[in-house]
Every structure is written in structure tokens, then in C-alpha cells.
């Protein structure tokens, strides 16, 4: 069976093993022992609440209890951009209008910004290829929302998720070729690698500071602003179902969208239910449901069947064990799928 749980120090080695499989494109999960080791330590301290809320980094692993292997990982970084600038382009609108000429021109504009500084970030989602079946991907992604619903007080008002931007067949980014390359004079992968290493001062040094009209860019660069990489489309849809929206912020290199949400307006916060664990079999009309315990320092979650919108959760002995729960303990539940008629 699979369980999603707070990461522990014992997970460092398997995590590095997993990071080897991630490949490029995910800058926050590189197979670097020093970097990952430090990150897991931060995560453990986060769940233990021994570091300040804004420094926390909650990492979760999906564990296959049948063989003890890690099937996936995901994380919630409490606040981005507080030690190094967090850059985005924001798409704004400027209107150029002359009554005398009867001209009214509405133009999109790119502003280099650090507006998202301090936001909570969903990041580092990775599921091992052999586990990409059934509900696993959906569950892993959405597990973070249930965590946030349970521990809402720990999160800033707003959360974000950066989505990988569009790439052409040959792996190039039309947005980067149309904009960044003129100023950085190097390949996209090189630039991307530098930011992964935390070398960001070159952005302040080389990036044009002035607002840019989108119309100045080549058409293929314009077309991909806010568009995700083909393989990222399903991930984007999942997050949008949970109440996150593209609000005009994109990555400065590949123009991939940043999805944003207000914690208070997430489906998980609105619709998840605080219930009581009981032992038994689900009865009646049930649906696939995320069920977690309510312990921050030993957070654990299973996917099971629950009835009555999650108000009735009958768990098997095995599931109670996975949740580290006794009957009568508080649990929180959230339907995996969005109900058509939302109440």
C-alpha cells in the first residue's frame, strides 16, 4: 500500500536516488547530496516547528509500504524570495489612445517584478515512472492542499506554483530565443543551470529593467507566454481544479505560467472535512478520498473510500496503522475529484 507522509532524515539516500531520475527541468530537485541533505533537514525542522514559519520547507514522500521504497515526492516551501530575489515577468496592460486620431491601442506589457516575494510555493513534485498509474499522480499533487487545509495558520495568504514553460520540438524555448538570449548571450540550459545553482546576480546585471511591450517580441515568443510545456498540461489542470489561477505572472526565461491561489479560497480549505476516524468498511455511496491525520510532526495520509462528502470515514486496521491513528482520533478528508455541483 501507499502512504504519503512527512519526510524524515532516513529518506535522504532514497531521495538522492530518486533525484537522479528526475532529469533536467526541475531545478529544485537535483541529485546533490549536500543540497538535498540540507533541504531534508530543513523539512524535518519544519514539521518539528523548530525553525521560523517563513523558513520552512515541508517535504512529503509517497512510500510504498510493500517494499519500503519511495514512489514520489512533493513539497511546500513556506516563502520564496526572502534570501534571494525571486523574479517574474508580470503581464500588464497599457492603453495608448488618442481621441484626436480615433486610435485606441491596448497592449500587453512585461514588467520585471519581484511581486511574488514571500509567497508559499508548491514545488518539487515528482513521481517515479513505475508508479504513474491510477490516482497516484493526482493524489500526490493534491496531498499538499489537504495539508494546507489542516494547517492553514502556517501559510501566507497566497500560494503559487511555477509551471514549466513551452518548448519547441527541438527543446528550445521560443520566448527565451526572442528575449533573454539578446541580453544573456548564452543558451537557455546554461542560464537555467545558473539559476538552479542560486547564481542569480546576473539577472539583476543583465536583464532589461524597463517595461517591455509584448508586441516587440517575435510572434512565436508572444504566442507561448503563459503556456506550459506539453507534459505539464495535466499538472496545470489539477492545480486549476483546486482553485489556482494564472494571473499574468510568468517565468522570466521561458514564460511558463505561475499559478496563484488564495489559501482561503482553495477547494481543500472550503470543502475538506474534519471528521473522526472509525474502524470498519465504507458503506453507501462513496468516493475516492484523501484522508490524513491531524499531526504536524507526524503527518500521514492515505487514499481511501469515504461517504457523505467525507464526513463518514470508515478505515481498515491497516489504514489506521498507516495514518498512525486510533479509532476516535481526528482526521481530515477531501474528495480526490472535484464534485460537479459544488454544494
Amino acid at each position: 500500500m501507499l502512504v504519503i507522509r512527512a519526510i524524515t532524515l532516513n529518506d535522504i539516500d532514497p531521495l538522492i536516488e530518486m533525484a537522479r531520475q528526475v532529469g533536467s527541468g526541475m531545478t529544485t530537485l537535483k541529485p546533490d547530496r549536500a543540497m538535498l541533505g540540507e533541504r531534508v533537514e530543513t523539512a524535518v525542522a519544519s514539521f518539528a516547528q523548530t525553525i521560523p514559519p517563513e523558513e520552512r520547507d515541508y517535504m512529503f514522500v509517497m512510500e510504498d509500504t510493500s517494499n519500503g521504497r519511495l514512489a514520489g515526492v512533493c513539497a511546500i516551501k513556506a516563502a520564496v524570495g526572502l534570501t534571494e530575489p525571486f523574479y517574474n515577468y508580470r503581464i500588464g496592460t497599457l492603453v495608448h489612445s488618442s481621441r484626436e486620431l480615433g486610435v485606441f491601442t491596448r497592449m500587453d506589457t512585461l514588467y520585471l517584478s519581484n511581486d511574488l516575494t514571500g509567497s508559499t510555493e508548491l514545488c518539487s513534485l515528482f513521481l517515479m515512472p513505475e508508479y504513474r498509474t491510477g490516482y497516484n499522480g493526482k493524489w500526490l499533487s493534491k496531498s499538499r492542499f489537504l495539508f494546507m487545509a489542516q494547517f492553514q495558520h502556517l501559510f501566507t495568504e497566497k500560494i503559487i506554483a511555477e509551471m514549466r514553460g513551452y518548448q519547441a520540438e527541438d527543446g528550445t524555448s521560443p520566448f527565451y530565443e526572442g528575449l533573454g538570449r539578446h541580453f544573456f548571450k548564452m543558451d537557455f540550459n546554461h542560464v537555467d543551470g545558473l539559476t538552479a545553482l542560486g547564481k542569480k546576480s546576473f539577472i539583476a546585471e543583465l536583464m532589461p529593467r524597463q517595461p517591455l511591450y509584448v508586441a516587440y517580441l517575435p510572434e512565436d515568443a508572444q504566442a507561448v507566454i503563459g503556456q506550459v510545456h506539453r507534459s505539464t498540461l495535466p499538472a496545470r489542470k489539477l492545480l486549476e481544479q483546486e482553485g489556482m489561477h494564472y494571473e499574468g505572472y510568468v517565468d522570466i526565461f521561458d514564460a511558463g505560467p505561475v499559478l496563484q491561489g488564495r489559501v482561503a479560497e482553495l477547494r481543500a480549505v472550503r470543502d475538506s472535512v474534519l471528521a473522526t476516524a472509525e474502524e470498519g468498511q465504507p458503506e453507501g455511496e462513496c468516493e475516492v478520498t484523501l484522508v490524513s491525520n491531524t499531526k504536524l510532526d507526524d503527518f500521514r495520509m492515505v487514499l481511501t473510500q469515504a461517504c457523505d462528502g467525507g464526513r463518514k470515514v470508515a478505515l481498515s486496521v491497516r489504514e489506521l496503522q498507516l495514518l498512525h491513528c486510533q479509532p476516535g482520533d481526528p482526521i481530515r478528508s477531501l474528495a480526490l475529484n472535484v464534485r460537479k455541483n459544488n454544494g
Binding site: 486610435v103 491601442t105 541580453f183 544573456f184 543583465l206 511591450y213
Partner: protein, 346 residues
């Protein structure tokens, strides 16, 4: 012999004929009789005006064949480019980009909409019928405006500029406009020029044109290629103006990307090199040292009040208190022996 003189009301008809051959969008000259008459009227009023601070005055000069009385060229100067608003241009900024971490160092050009030329005096409307053959007369025509400014400095600013037409194709399309202005104005280059009447000081410019610097590397190749380039018809003017001391490179036109030449008056040869001389009688004065061979071309101008300018070969006058002019020249200038004139080598 040719003379440059202020335009007169009686010139309107001749101007209409002359300017019919000028190119719209390249020569910023009126072409309808009505507009020509208005321009002439404004010029006459400007010459007659008592000026304390340079403002809306606009002076139009014509090049006339003294013998046939035919008009063969025009040149104008506006006292203050932005007297009627703000004169907009793109300033060609260079941004140094250096990253020590990455060992990168290069410069990026950016065009910034600016209004620095607003209080400058503006040369414009330079047109000469036979521009390939009449080089000496062209030089006179171009420079005569500045000689007038030397004689009447209170009527002009301390700095001067001249926008020269940029590159357009056979269809009158401008690659620079297509990459920039069109995106904001939503119209063709010639339509825009027609609508705005060639002006660069109108409210609608600040309403429509981009307020943020345009990074040149983001412009399409054809637009970059024509930045600061002159329309072929402007080569003569360009050569004359750079000889005069005008400098290009710092500003370009916001519509067609053509160069805007500019200079402080101290850098202009008409100002720094002009000398006040008494008119002497050429017949009475024997040619000095070396005869005809040593003669140089001078542009000579009379007074502010009754301005005339001619060009003629003379003995070098630097070391003399007077300049020797033959009767025809004196007639053309309206200057008698003993009168003061200013002259400068061409």
C-alpha cells in the same frame, strides 16, 4: 548668380510649381497652394516680428536665380522646435551590461522617447531643384539660414538640430515605422505622416508612442538596419550639415528612424568661422598673391534687417578688414561699399 533671401508673398505661385516635385514624407514642405501661402505668411510675419524669446517664429528662405528670377530651392528654420508643444525624438542610449560572475560584458542600445530637443532651433524644409549639379548653391542655401542666425542670435536657441528623412522603400513604407510606430498608431507610415503633418510636437505623440525605452536588439533586422540611415535624397543635406559641424548618432526620428543631426552653435562653422568684413569694390582692388588660383568660395550675408546671402569666389579675407565684391554681388546683397557683411568659407 544665385541669392538666398527671405520668402515674399509674391513667391507663392513659384513655390507651388517648385515644390510639386518634392517628395512627401521626405521633404517636410507644404505642397498645396493654401498651405504654402500660410507658410509664407508665417515666415513674413516672423521676419518682421520683434523677438525677445525664440518661440513660434518660422523663417523660410528661397534660393533665387538672380538673372531669371526663378526660384530653385527652399530652406527653413524654426525658432524653437517645441514652441507649440514638446518636440519628441528617440535618444540613442547605450547601456553597459557587465556580469563579473559570468565574465560577460557588452552594450545594449535602447531608444528612449525624449523631449530634450524642445528648445532647440530646427532646420527643415531644405529642397533644391537640381541637387546633383548645384553643389555650391546647395551649400549656400543650407548655410544661409545659419548665417541669418549669426546675424540675429536672439531669434534662435543656442542649439540647432535637423531631422533628415529616413529610409523608406519604393512604396513609401518605412521598416522602422513598421516595427514601432505602426504597433501604436495602427496605420501606415504615410498615413501617419499625413495625419500628423510631419510634426513631432503633438499631444497625440505622447498619447500613442511608447514611454519606455525600446531595446534595439528586440527590433527586427530591417528596422535595426535603417536606424540613423538617411533617405538617398538626403545625402546632399547630410554632407553639407556634417561639414558644417552637425553631429549624428545621438538622436533619431521617432517615426522613420532617420538621423537627427544636432550641434551647439559654437560647434558650427557658420558661427565659429564667420567674420565681419567691410564691403570693398572688387574692381578697384588688384588680386593679391597668386591670382585666381588662390581664391576660395565664400558665403556672404548682409544684415538681419534686409537679409541676402550669396556665394562667390574671393581672395582669402582672413587677414583683411574688408572683402572685395564685384558689382553684381553687391547688388545681389543689397550692400554698398563700406557696409558690413559677414562671410564664411564654404
Amino acid at each position: 548668380m544665385y541669392v538666398v533671401r527671405p520668402v515674399e508673398p509674391a513667391d507663392v505661385g513659384a513655390l507651388e510649381t517648385l515644390l510639386a516635385a518634392s517628395t512627401p514624407g521626405v521633404h517636410t514642405l507644404p505642397r498645396t497652394r493654401e498651405k504654402i501661402a500660410a507658410f509664407v505668411e508665417r515666415s513674413v510675419a516672423s521676419f518682421a516680428a520683434h523677438v525677445d524669446i525664440p518661440s513660434e517664429e518660422s523663417y523660410l528662405f528661397v534660393l533665387e536665380d538672380v538673372d531669371s528670377r526663378e526660384l530653385v530651392g527652399t530652406a527653413a528654420i524654426h525658432a524653437s522646435a517645441g514652441s507649440n508643444g514638446t518636440y519628441f525624438a528617440f535618444r540613442n542610449d547605450v547601456i553597459q551590461q557587465v556580469s563579473r560572475d559570468l565574465n560577460i560584458s557588452h552594450s545594449v542600445h535602447a531608444l528612449t522617447l525624449c523631449s530634450e530637443l524642445t528648445a532647440y532651433s530646427q532646420l527643415s524644409g531644405f529642397y533644391i531643384r537640381d541637387r546633383d549639379t548645384a553643389r555650391r548653391e546647395a551649400a549656400l542655401l543650407s548655410r544661409a539660414r545659419l548665417l541669418y542666425a549669426v546675424l540675429a542670435p536672439h531669434r534662435f536657441g543656442d542649439r540647432f538640430f535637423v531631422p533628415l528623412a529616413g529610409v523608406t522603400d519604393e512604396g513609401g513604407q518605412s521598416p522602422f515605422w513598421d516595427a514601432l510606430g505602426r504597433k501604436f498608431f495602427k496605420m501606415d507610415f504615410l498615413d501617419a505622416e499625413r495625419t500628423i503633418g510631419g510634426a513631432r510636437n503633438r499631444t497625440l505623440i505622447v498619447e500613442l508612442m511608447p514611454h519606455y525605452p525600446v531595446y534595439v536588439p528586440l527590433l527586427p533586422g530591417p528596422a535595426q538596419a535603417v536606424m540613423g540611415q538617411i533617405h538617398p535624397s538626403g545625402e546632399l543635406a547630410f554632407d553639407l550639415l556634417t561639414e558644417e559641424g552637425f553631429e549624428a548618432d545621438e538622436y533619431i526620428d521617432i517615426f522613420d528612424g532617420g538621423p537627427i543631426l544636432q550641434a551647439h552653435k559654437h560647434a558650427l562653422r557658420s558661427f565659429s568661422g564667420s567674420m565681419v568684413k567691410k564691403v570693398a569694390n572688387a574692381e578697384l582692388q588688384p588680386p593679391t598673391r597668386g591670382g585666381k588660383a588662390a581664391m576660395v568660395n565664400y558665403a556672404v550675408a548682409s544684415s538681419e534687417r534686409k537679409f541676402r546671402a550669396i556665394v562667390l569666389p574671393c581672395d582669402p579675407a582672413e587677414s583683411s578688414e574688408s572683402i572685395c565684391l564685384p558689382p553684381a554681388a553687391r547688388d545681389a546683397l543689397g550692400a554698398a561699399t563700406g557696409d558690413s557683411v559677414i562671410c564664411v568659407r564654404i
